[in-house]
């Protein structure tokens, strides 16, 4: 009997909702409605069915032994608990998620470092009034004219002018 009562943790749906990115809102809403439906279904069912009044039936039913037989079989009956097939999958999913999130966080941190470097370069560059063209090409490498690929003026395809 103790095995069936897997602890139902209280979920903070508000905090959960905050962390959902906007493009996954629909999935989150579906999950929430499903959870709420299950919770409602669970709450509607009584925890134990009411006890059968055997004494009353023994007094009323004329056929001898029937009530006794029923009572014996009823108390001997063991209802099997439903088997949990999905928890292992959920745990596997969780491990997967942990791994992929670790990778993502690492990539994200690398990106942040890159951004910070670029930001630093932009913040400490010399003002435009004092720059030469070479200095400009240093800070904004995309402005450099490729003199090998386009040897003739204007050193870039005409469409880019």
């Amino acid at each position: 009997m103790a095995g069936r009562r897997a602890a139902i943790k209280a979920i903070d749906w508000a905090a959960f909702a905050e962390r959902v990115p906007p493009d996954q809102r629909a999935m989150f809403n579906a999950l929430k409605t499903r959870s709420d439906a299950l919770a409602a279904r669970l709450a509607a069912l009584p925890e134990k069915p009411p006890a059968i009044d055997w004494a009353h039936y023994k007094a009323v039913v004329a056929k001898a032994g029937m009530v006794d037989e029923f009572q014996k079989k009823f108390s001997a009956l063991k209802i099997p608990e439903p088997v949990d097939t999905q928890s292992a999958k959920i745990d596997a999913q969780e491990k997967e998620a942990a791994k992929s999130t670790a990778e993502y966080v690492q990539a994200s941190k690398a990106r942040i470092v890159q951004y910070e470097q670029q930001l630093q370069k932009l913040r400490t560059m010399i003002p435009f009034e004092q720059m030469t063209f070479e200095d400009l090409h240093e800070v904004f490498p995309e402005t450099k004219l490729d003199k090998e690929k386009y040897p003739f003026w204007p050193h870039k395809p005409i469409a880019d002018l």
Partner: protein, 227 residues
């Protein structure tokens, strides 16, 4: 002013040169640099360069080293027009040229500022995504909860079903018994009634009707008094 700008005279230095000065050197009368006047000031005071200029001019004219001819008049007219034009529109033209330059710089500065802003927002977004990712435990808790609720609900449903079935069968037995007893009672009552009605013979009927009439007469006698 060029002297004041220190060029790299010694060995190779990677630092950039200091920027060019904003304004050119000071000039008097648009032509003669201020340094000339400063140069002559210690020896000849304030009027020195002017005296020098006037004397030089008079010397050139009187000795006819510079000959006054029609070119002089043409030159004087052209010069006066030029000076008038510069005095009147010089400032505007300068402002226009400065504005062109400023626009160029403003464009590039806008590009730079936008780049900075984009980078900052990108960093913010990345941090936010990291925070979001931390909340993934909620999802798995919700899933596990769902599973637990489902199992529990199923189990309870099964219990309830068993109870309902057993109760239904017992109630059926009870209801059957009640029905049978009721039918037996009804049948017996009917049978008794039928027999009683059959056993009433015509003789008994006449006797009972006569008795009823006598009773009625007696009752009417006693009733009249009341009315």
């Amino acid at each position: 002013i060029l002297h004041s700008r220190p060029l790299h005279t010694t060995q190779q230095c990677l630092a950039p040169l200091p920027p060019l000065p904003e304004k050119g050197g000071e000039v008097r009368h648009g032509l003669i640099p201020e340094e000339f006047f400063q140069f002559l000031y210690p020896k000849t005071g304030v009027t020195g360069p002017y005296m020098l200029g006037t004397g030089l001019l008079l010397y050139l004219l009187s000795k006819e080293i510079y000959v006054v001819n029609h070119e002089t008049v043409a030159g004087a007219c052209i010069l006066s027009i030029i000076i008038y034009g510069i005095k009147k529109y010089g400032a505007d033209v300068a402002a226009f040229a400065d504005r062109l330059n400023e626009e160029k710089i403003a464009k590039v500065a806008a590009v730079k500022n936008e780049a900075i802003k984009d980078l900052e927002t990108a960093i913010e977004e990345e941090k936010k995504e990291q925070w979001r990712v931390e909340g993934r435990s909620y999802l798995f808790d919700a899933k596990r909860n769902n599973i637990a609720m489902l199992l529990e609900a199923n189990y309870r449903e099964r219990l309830l079903m068993v109870y309902n079935e057993v109760k239904k069968r017992l109630d059926y037995q009870v209801a059957m018994q009640n029905l049978k007893r009721q039918k037996e009672q009804d049948h017996m009552i009917q049978w008794v009634e039928k027999n009683v009605v059959q056993s009433i013979t015509p003789q008994q009927q006449k006797e009972s009707i006569a008795k009823c009439i006598l009773d009625l007469k007696a009752l009417s006698k006693s009733a009249q008094a009341a009315v």
